[in-house]
Symmetry: none
Subunit: 210 residues, 4 copies
Amino acid sequence: MPERGPSRGRPRDIDVDRRILIAARDLLLVNGYAALSIDEVADRAGVAKTTLYRRWPTKDHLIVAVVALMQDDVPILDTGDIRADLTDYLRQVADGLNTMRRAGLPEGADDRSAGVVAEVAAAAARHADLGTLIRAVFARRNAMAIGLLASAVRRGALRTDLDVAVLFDQLVGPLYYRILVTGEPVDHPYLDLIIDGALRGARPSHAHPA
Amino acid sequence: MPERGPSRGRPRDIDVDRRILIAARDLLLVNGYAALSIDEVADRAGVAKTTLYRRWPTKDHLIVAVVALMQDDVPILDTGDIRADLTDYLRQVADGLNTMRRAGLPEGADDRSAGVVAEVAAAAARHADLGTLIRAVFARRNAMAIGLLASAVRRGALRTDLDVAVLFDQLVGPLYYRILVTGEPVDHPYLDLIIDGALRGARPSHAHPA
Amino acid sequence: MPERGPSRGRPRDIDVDRRILIAARDLLLVNGYAALSIDEVADRAGVAKTTLYRRWPTKDHLIVAVVALMQDDVPILDTGDIRADLTDYLRQVADGLNTMRRAGLPEGADDRSAGVVAEVAAAAARHADLGTLIRAVFARRNAMAIGLLASAVRRGALRTDLDVAVLFDQLVGPLYYRILVTGEPVDHPYLDLIIDGALRGARPSHAHPA
Amino acid sequence: MPERGPSRGRPRDIDVDRRILIAARDLLLVNGYAALSIDEVADRAGVAKTTLYRRWPTKDHLIVAVVALMQDDVPILDTGDIRADLTDYLRQVADGLNTMRRAGLPEGADDRSAGVVAEVAAAAARHADLGTLIRAVFARRNAMAIGLLASAVRRGALRTDLDVAVLFDQLVGPLYYRILVTGEPVDHPYLDLIIDGALRGARPSHAHPA
DNA sequence: GTATAATCGAGACGGTACGTCAGGTCTTACG
DNA sequence: CGTAAGACCTGACGTACCGTCTCGATTATAC
């Protein structure tokens, strides 16, 4: 939607965007949100602060951009085995979350910490536009996973009276809950338990329809 | 836990604690975390900053204290009707979250925002002690709810092979997920759907073992 | 002095110079030096910043150009009545100074302020070339006035042992001093007093020629 | 006039003022106005920037404070020999001006430059309060010199129909004029010429033995 | 009572980062 | 070439808030 006419003036240097995002991501993962300063990002990216601010008007905006980028590329495939596909998907989500949870923590510190994840949620709360943006990113990714469930319903692998959106929440919600609130680990065994719990009542019950 | 010996010198003014917490809570609910400054809290409470810092060494500590206070009193009762009890419990949790979600938002703004909830999670991530503390608060409250489920299992209202902790996560997790991440509403109909989904596979299957 | 060879490529648009100077002058008189930004001048003149910088390499250069332009045309005539001629001359100088003194001041503000005059002096201090330039402008104008005095000396209206340059300084210096330093008014009565003072000892003393 | 009641809170550290002013003066004299940055002053003074800004809200304010300090202590004495006293006074003024004129200039550069003097005048023009302040400083110093002239009038060393304020302007004005405008030197011979010119017509003309 | 000790109010202080502004340079596309 | 447009770099500005420190004035217990 930019669509800035026949392109007047010096065009933006796309490489600059890249360098900034990389610098920001590196600093974010190493030092965490608080210790990341715009000055340092600009410095590392070899860019003037003004140039950075032209693109992201706020530290929060920058961080959200970084996170959005990190979340963007989650390949999802529908093999027909709903359980296997869900496992695969949840593991990717969990990996991403665990990475951000550890961001900025001294090597080996107990990672019962929400780290960057919470900061991003907070950032989204502070700026309406960021809320919209980040939710769009998540919605896009979730849509694919929800499609997975819907397709399973269509081919009879799951009950037809399911609210797949709710089922999805019950798969993913617990991960965020542990990361953001209780600080408990989100590892593969846990994911299996979650999937067990969610699918237990979701399979079609041959004999008696609810 | 303070245990300050045979008490020498001028004793602390307990009323001061109260005034600070009230001031902080008010500002927090009205303006949100970022816009709350220690200077202003102290000013409002009619208290010197030193006095405040003697009690809470950090802005984060103060905020967490405020939130902990707000979460403290959630009565839970076990009527024997597991579905009714869960509904009651989840509604209380949802109410608390929705209140904090709205904190600092301009009246009537669309409250698709994590507001204070995220800030607290972030604060907990920044200070190990706060993480421990806030998790203890949650653990205590959760323990009661998990007890509810366990008792239901014992009396045969739920399957015996359930992991009640996981079941609990699948009940509560979606609420936090919506509040903190997707920004979707967490209202009574949604709670019913969540409970439906969770209990669907959790009831004992007399005739047919899944 | 430019002397750009056999003139290749597109010739400069002379009108551009004019528009820039006009825009700069207007902004200078309205807002004063500090509030005048090159971007705004260019914008007003409907000119690219590059174009402006091709002509004046610095904000200071531009401002000096503007001021030089304003000072340029001070007609001086030698009627033979030294006192009347001096009065005429000093009034013109005072008018120019008073105009610049008021530049950038909120309407009706007490104009005990050096305004643009001081800024130009400062600009001249910052760039050697501007110093030379502005001094040349003043020298040219002063030379005419000094010529006035010299002619008076020649025809016996003033003492022959006078250092006319010093006499000139004592006529003009006080005006700048008031404008730049004390902020006191420089009006017609004051000019008369200055001329009185300067001429008092400068007239030939019939009885005893020093 | 501060008069801040019974002195509440931590009192200002007077030494901080001193250190800041010294640092500022040093940097000013070495580098000139433009190259003096608040950050560096604070750094040199071993002081937080905020501490500096608590005292002087603007770079201009700080510089004016520095200059005011440098001008403050000009001893004037009335020996009865008006010409000698004036010479003494003007030399002090000229010394101060010449020092500031040279501020920030590369060693040995031609000092046909207004340097700091003009910047201060400009600063005074930008901030009304600074104008008032600096004029008060000058007024105080000038009052003493004008007193010198008045006393000379009283004892018959100068004509009684003199406007001593105007006479004073004609003594001092030329110095500022040369410094700020023409860039010509202000040395001892010049001072003598100025005094000659001013006193020539100012002596009582009874027998007037020049 | 009088020393001792801690609390409280007030506000200065050091520090860190923020986001902004303006001056000047560079890079496009177009005449 | 010159011009328009606008991105870019540089450097500094003034601000905000945090958490610490230094006063003087209280208010308690201990001797």
